[in-house]
Amino acid sequence: MSALTGGEPGAGLDVSGLTVRYGGQLAVDNLDLSAPMGQLTGLIGPNGAGKTTTFNACSGLLRPTSGRVVLFGDDVTRKGPAARARRGLGRTFQRMELFTSMTVSENVALAREARQAGSNPLWQQVASPRQWATVRAATAEALDVCGIAGIAERIVGTLSTGQRRLVELARVYAGDFRMLLLDEPSSGLDKAESERFGAILRSLVTGRGLGILLVEHDMELVMTVCDDLYVLDFGELIFHGTPAETKASPVVRAAYLGSEEVMEAAGLAEHGVG
């Protein structure tokens, strides 16, 4: 279950002592978290626990009050989102950030193109034939893997939520990111779509050796696909363990159900794990 690929020690995403404060409010409090390569790490917790805030701090959209974000062994705490992306960190968004006026294949291709162009004024304007060949191959592969090759020429704005989720996933796939942060990728999907989604995620991790950090409300999906779970509540890490351990944990149960009778809940726990 531990880092199978990635090579260097501490590979993947390591967050230490992460603290984010909005005004007076503590959104994330001294969080330590590690998402190694070749593994699906889940980040769960009740509403308002600080999951998306953690993602924004990891991807560079938000500067943490304190703490470090280490990506593949390098400290990227002071780097902007684009620089982190170029190092191989990709992400999706709960509210989906898509190029709605463009086609599915343009959306997917653009991620790879953005990585190639970076901040280079020349490559932002034109693609070299070799770059373009890479983009086309990556796009075709991503569309295929995510099962959306059939709608490649549709305008994204006309798609259903489920299809859009897959487009966003195909985009991080085509972008050749090694570490993916997925923010509630299954919300708005129906059960069948959600199951297929889970299968794709597993294949990315086991087949391609990517690292994935997943925020997800669909507990069923989380419990099926994740190797390792972190549970946040009020911005604090309250539990870390395997899905089975998490299900059995009275602390987690209390966080979700608000029971103060922790002992009683612990008694019921066996029931849940089965």
Binding site: P46, N47, M219, L257, G258, E260, E261, G272, G274
Partner: protein, 235 residues
Amino acid sequence: MLVLDGVTAGYGTTGVLRDVHLTVPRSSVVALLGPNGAGKTTLLRVTSGLLTPWSGRVLLDGDDVTGRSPDALARHGVCHVPEGRGVFPPLSVRENLLLFSHPGEERTGLERALEAFPDLKGRLEQAAGTMSGGQQQMLALARAYIAGAKVILLDEVSMGLAPIIVDQIFEFLHRLAAEGVSLLLVEQYVNKALAIADYAYILSRGRITFAGDAAELADEDVFTRYLGSDVAAGV
């Protein structure tokens, strides 16, 4: 009595609620449970008029109030305390209470609120947003109290609050219910909600998957339902 009759609703082209039937009888407490993202908040928004359903009806004491504006519904006795804090953060406590009172009854409104929540007395000139989460929630609940609402919709009132404050809030809700007000409660503290509820509904992916007596559900393991019944059974 509040009735949702076959409500289907969503945002843009994305459907959230599908054919929801739900009843809140007079002077009873109904708990609305379900995993995050199931559509609980949307259901409350439809009920209070913030969102017009695509189809279906909302009935208040037998009148079809579907599509009425939220302010009209508020004047008809629907009080929705939205998720987060139902207060105006930059306004002082006094100004918040001014807006919560019926026009012309600002003074009595203030008095009644302070009677119910004496903690607010020393903070009348403080900006609501600078108070603690618990105090803000008390202020929000004061609206439900002084507006003289018939139906109160509460969205995660206990979110982010210390357990002792949560207890106080539930005690207050219990008192409201005893006075004959109907409560529709969206709550993550399932056990606490079920403890004061008469009826319970579970909403999952926009559909009602359980409807019945709260007591019935209290015996079951709701957590298992949240995790997804198949999984829990299978593991």
